[in-house]
Every structure is written in C-alpha cells, then in structure tokens.
C-alpha cells in the first residue's frame, strides 16, 4: 500500500525537488563560470533586475492556480507607471496619493477584466488578450511620446538604493510578497479555495463558494499588484515611457509554469514558484556574466521549461504503478494528456 499515497502532494514535492536540483546545478555552474557571481551586490542585482516581474509572478501563481490567466499584467504595469508619472508631471497631486491612485487604477483595470471573465463567462485568455492591447494603449495615451522623470528623490531611491543594508525597497517587497503569498496559498482558506476553484469551479460553486466573486476579486488584486509593480519599476528606472514593461507577461507566466503550477489550475505551490524564480534569475545572471547572448539565454530557458516537464512526465510514468487501479480516469496517462493539453479554458 505504500505507493497508494498522495499523488498530488508527492507530485508537488517531486517537482520542487526537481527544481531545487536544477537550481543547485545552476548555482554550481555559475560559481564555476564567474568569479563575480558570489558577491552580495550581484545577488542583490540579480533580484533587483527582475524584481517587478517576480512580484507579479506571485499573484500570477494565484491566478493560474485558479485555472485562469492574466495576459494583461505587463500592460497594467505600464498603466501604473504612467499614471504616477502623469499625475506627477501635470498635476499637483501629492506623490504618495499618485501612487495610491495608480494602484487603484490597476485594481479597476483588473476588476473590469475579472467581471468580463467571471460574470459574462468570456475566457480570461481572451479578455486579458484584449486587455494586453487596450491597457498598453491607455499607457500610451497617458504619456504619449514623452519620457517623464524627475521624480522625488525618495521615490527614486525606493528602487535604486538600499533600505535595509544594501537591500532596495522593491526587493524587500518581493520577499514579503512571496512569503505572504506562500502562506495565503498554502495555509489559509483563501488558498484552499483557489485550488478547488482551479480544479473544478462548478464543484466549488456547488460547495457554497462564491466563485464569481472570488475570481473578480483575484483579477482586481492582480491588476493592483501589477500596477504597484509598475510603480516600482518607474522608481528603479527613474523615468517612464509609454512602452514601460512591455512584453513582460511571457516571462512572468514562464516563471510560474516552470514553478510547477499547472496551466489548468488546481495544482502548484509557492515554494515551487520561488524556486523557479531563483532558477530563472540565477541562470540569466550566470549566463549574462558569462557573456552569453540574451537570445541564447531565452532559448536556454525555453529548453529548461520543456525539459523539466519531460522529466516530470518520465517520473510520473514510472510512478503510475503506485496509483490505485480503480482511480478515476483522470489519473490515466492516456487521458491526462489531452485534458492537460487544453489551453486555458
């Protein structure tokens, strides 16, 4: 009976272990490659360079666990940054209020998308694809062809200089976010509901969960967090243009998927996402220090994304023996394939 226990849990574990191994290999590779790798500044840089993406990745993990997807995050990041910039540039709104307004606008953007998706039943892939185009347009409307800078010093320093020791504010935000996200996803009712909704939204509704409300709120949070990340990005860059953060969505989604969150919802863990973030960041950093072309880096991450699932499948097949023979067909590999190849519904 030993084999009978907990495929879900052990699969997550197994995935995390696999990621951890990849991470260790990456780190060893980096240490061997570059003498500059093991420096405190490099470690901070490594986070700082992508901190906005990985903050958004935390909330994206929730969205994907829920069986949805949000392609519009990068555009909403742009909106957040541009709102702050424009309010600073052409109004006398206090800067902190401007930040709050930007986050609010992001939240509203997410709310709108969540409403379209959850209430009207338009797949989130489609809604947020429209959002990807439309909100980028909004960002462009706001700043047009300008490059807006000259932010208050304290704001620039949020993204550029250390708050606690050498750690910049945004990196601290990330660690708080991932810790908080991990606890919420793994240890609270909110997280439990996310898994259940992602596994089977109808069933969740039949269990008294307000699925529509949950999803609308989740998209609103996703929008607000994205906008806030955009604001942090503005702080790091010190100036804002209409194209700020464009194209980030695929990187963000890649990190979450590599983290073992199933695109069909219902599985995954924040630990996995965290490990995958570390892998991607370290890999990019190490390859960058080894003067490997950005294109090649992207290609290598593509290979790792595919290879890691191949490995997982190889293990899963090796392990099917442990499944109860009477298990419902969704454990049968033959069927799993085609359920799991579904695009986000």
């Amino acid at each position: 009976m030993t084999g009978r226990a907990r495929p879900v849990i052990s699969e997550n574990r197994r995935w995390e272990l696999l990621l951890l191994t990849i991470l260790v290999v990456t780190v060893i590779f980096n240490v061997m490659q570059s003498t500059n790798y093991l420096g405190i500044n490099n470690f901070i840089n490594l986070f700082e360079l992508s901190v906005e993406k990985i903050i958004v990745a935390v909330v994206m993990a929730f969205v994907i666990v829920c069986g949805e997807i949000d392609l519009s995050v990068a555009s909403i990041m742009g909106v957040g940054a541009c709102v702050v910039a424009v309010l600073h540039d052409s109004t006398s709104v206090p800067f902190t209020l401007a930040i709050l307004i930007a986050v609010g606008v992001g939240g509203l953007a997410g709310l709108l998308q969540g409403w379209c998706s959850a209430t009207l039943g338009v797949p989130s892939l489609v809604v947020t694809l429209a959002g990807l185009i439309g909100f980028r347009g909004l960002a462009r409307i706001l700043v047009e062809d300008r490059s807006i800078g000259d932010f208050p010093e304290w704001f620039d320093s949020l993204g550029q200089s250390g708050v606690i020791g050498p750690l910049p504010f945004s990196v601290i935000v990330f660690f708080v976010a991932i810790l908080f996200g991990g606890v919420v996803l793994g240890r609270t009712g909110l997280g439990r509901r996310a898994y259940v909704i992602g596994d089977n939204a109808e069933m969740a509704r039949y269990s008294g969960i307000d699925v529509v409300g949950y999803k609308i709120r989740l998209f609103a949070v996703s929008g607000a967090v994205a906008a806030f990340a955009g604001v942090l990005f503005a702080a790091r860059l010190g100036s804002v243009r209409g194209d700020v953060a464009s194209g980030f969505e695929l990187d963000i989604i890649t990190m979450v998927l590599l983290g073992g969150v199933s695109i069909f919802g219902g599985t995954g863990s924040m630990l996995g996402v965290f490990t995958s973030i570390l892998i991607v960041l370290n890999l990019r950093n190490g390859l960058g220090l080894a003067n490997v072309e950005a294109n090649t880096q992207t290609g290598i991450i593509g290979v790792i994304l595919i290879a890691s699932v191949v490995l997982r499948n190889a293990f899963a097949r090796f392990d099917t023996s442990s499944l109860d023979t009477q298990a419902p067909p969704h454990h049968e590999p033959a069927v799993t394939n085609h359920d799991l190849t579904t695009a986000n519904p």
Partner: protein
C-alpha cells in the same frame, strides 16, 4: 426555423453570420466617419494585410480545435520567411511553387517538433510552444547571424507578388496573395467538412476521452494538427517574405497573439471542438478592418489606437458571449464548462464533462 437550419454546425454558422454582420456594421460606421473610406486602395490594403494573419490564424484554429494552443507560430513565420528568403536569394531560378513548398515544409517540420513534444512527450502545449517560441527564435538568430534578407536579393517575381492581381473591379483588386490565403482557408474548411480526418479532429477536441475510446489515434491527430498549424505558419512566412521583402531575424515577432486573437474573435472555442476556419478568417478580417480604419480615423491620435482596438476586441467578444447565450442557451460556446442551470444532470452539460476530465474540462466557468 427548421431543424435543418439549426443542424450540424448550426452554432458555428450562426457565429460566422454574426461576424460577417459585425464586419459589415463596422464598415458602415467607419464609412460615415471617414471621408473617401471605401477606396480601392483601402480594400487592397485590408485584403493584403489580412492574408498573412488569416493563414496563420487558420493554423492556430486547427490547434485550438484540438484543445491545444500554439504560441510559437510567430517564430515559425520568422524562420520560414527568413530561410525561404535566403534560399531564394541563393537560387533565384526557383519558381513560386518550389518556394511555397519550401516555406510550408519548414513550417511543417517545426510544427512536427511541437506536435511530437505535445503528443508523444505529453507536455501541455502551452508549455511546449512557450518554449519553442523562444527556441526557434534563438536558433534563427544564431543561424541568421544578424543579416537581413533584402528585397534586391530576391527574385523579382517574389518582390512583385503583392502587386499581382487576379482581376479587378474598378479600383478593387483581387490580389493573388489574398486569393491564395482565402483559397487555402476555404479549401481547408471544405476539406474539414468532407474529410474523415477533419471530422476526427473535431471529435478529438469535442471529447478526447471518447475519441480515445472510439479508437481514434489521438497522438497522430494531435501531431497532425500541429503539423498543419506549422505548415500554415510556414505559408504565412512565405506571404510575409513576399509582402515585406526585407526580412530581419525578428520577422513575425508577436504574430502569435494576433493569430490567437483572430481565432478566438472568430469563434474558435478554447475548449476545443467548436469553431471553423472560415470563422477565424472573419476574425482576422474584423481585426484588420478595425486596425486599418483606426489608422485612418483623423480624430484619433496615434496614441489612442491601441486602447480603442483593445476595447473593440473586448466588446466583440462580450457581444459574442451574450449573443451565444441568447441564441444557444443550452450550450454556450464561449462559456467554459459552465453547467447551465435548470437541466437535469442527464443533459448535455453533464455529459460534456464526463470521462474524468476532472483536471481540465470543468475548470472554469461558474457563471450562471
């Protein structure tokens, strides 16, 4: 309304009609807003512009029909356009058939890789193609070594291809490229209605478990869909090459989102099994008309274009969802896995989600 008219693919036909009406409506609206809107040149531009997206979107639809997605089409278009252009530069004596065959073959091979990884290695298609999106592009950049394919290296028949016209009515030309694109899409659509293999692809997307039980070779069908998608993206690459003449290694970047947008606006269900290639053609046409018309709208500043386009696409899909529910309350196309209320469990909703699709089928929806 007779049973006949609501029969096979009824909802799909309905969808196509709605789209055609929406396109017509937007033409009328823009015609009122823009002076000299209905010029032959505008027509030619829309038709030429849509040719590439339509072909790629048709391929994307094939894959979406089988409950998969292909994010790598933009990279496939790039590789196919670049390599074909390079080969034509080296072998200017090659004719149009050879060139198209080469482009399609390149696309098909890349599609085959996707398909094998999805079907045989059993990796979710979104992950496979997210990976190959990057990998194909990386390979192209390494291969291309930052060289640009320029128009003057290409044979003149290719450079002049966008100009070649089958026939004209006044200023309105039927360009070869457009004819080729819609010809391919319509031919495929007909083939899909008439060929066993086409119906089997629909069957696979409609209910993979049942397809498996019915003895259909799921792996082969899945691979076939990806190869078809790759081949069409390859053809798209050829059209891209002909249209722009100048091909850098970034050619086709971002085309995947356009193709997906065209397919879903065109009514291809991301839940598989529903939608038509002609629908995706209409979807591409609608987006192109909106895009081109917005460019022409004098009142609309450059910076407003994306925002308005996004909004219009959103309105289109919402309208579609609402209409779909009104006309087909039993089984809304777009409503994912929503079990319509007020039906005994025996009815269609319960059935569509049978066979242990616990991990997938019912994952969304929830709207009454």
């Amino acid at each position: 309304m007779t049973t006949m008219s609501m029969s096979r693919l009824g909802p799909d036909r309905l969808k196509e009609l709605t789209l055609a009406a929406t396109i017509f409506l937007s033409l009328v609206v823009f015609g009122l807003l823009i002076e000299g809107y209905f010029s032959g040149r505008f027509f030619n531009r829309v038709t030429l512009g849509v040719a590439i997206v339509a072909v790629v979107a048709a391929g994307q639809s094939l894959v979406i029909l089988t409950r998969n997605i292909d994010l790598s089409v933009g990279s496939i278009v790039g590789v196919s356009a670049y390599v074909t252009g390079q080969q034509l530069g080296n072998h200017p004596e090659a004719n149009v058939v050879v060139a198209i065959a080469l482009a399609i073959a390149i696309g098909a091979i890349l599609g085959l890789i996707n398909g094998l990884l999805v079907a045989v290695a059993r990796i979710p298609s979104i992950i496979v193609t997210l990976g190959t999106l990057a990998i194909y592009r990386t390979v192209l950049i390494a291969y291309g070594d930052a060289k640009t394919i320029t128009a003057d290296t290409l044979p003149s028949w290719l450079v002049n291809l966008p100009k070649s016209t089958l026939f004209s009515i006044g200023d309105y030309d039927l360009r070869f490229m457009f004819a080729l694109a819609i010809g391919v899409v319509i031919a495929l659509q007909i083939a899909f209605g008439r060929l066993r293999v086409g119906r089997r692809l629909y069957a696979l997307g409609s209910n993979p478990d049942a397809a498996h039980q019915a003895g259909l070779s799921i792996n082969r069908l899945t691979v076939l869909a990806f190869v078809g998608c790759g081949a069409l993206a390859g053809l798209g690459g050829f059209l891209f090459l002909a249209r722009f003449g100048t091909i850098t290694v970034t050619a086709g970047q971002g085309l995947e989102l356009q193709a997906i947008a065209a397919a879903v606006v065109g009514g291809v269900s991301t839940l598989g099994g529903a939608g038509t290639l002609v629908g995706s053609l209409f979807g591409a046409l609608l987006i192109e008309v909106l895009n081109q018309s917005l460019v022409r709208l004098p009142a609309l500043s450059e910076f407003w274009r994306d925002a308005v386009l996004g909004l219009l696409i959103l309105i289109a899909v919402i309208l579609d969802a609402v209409l779909a529910r009104r006309f087909n309350p039993g089984r809304p196309r777009i409503l994912a896995g929503t079990s319509a209320p007020g039906r005994e469990p025996g009815s269609a909703q319960a059935i569509t989600e049978t066979g242990g699709t616990a991990t997938g089928g019912a994952a969304t929806g929830g709207a009454p």
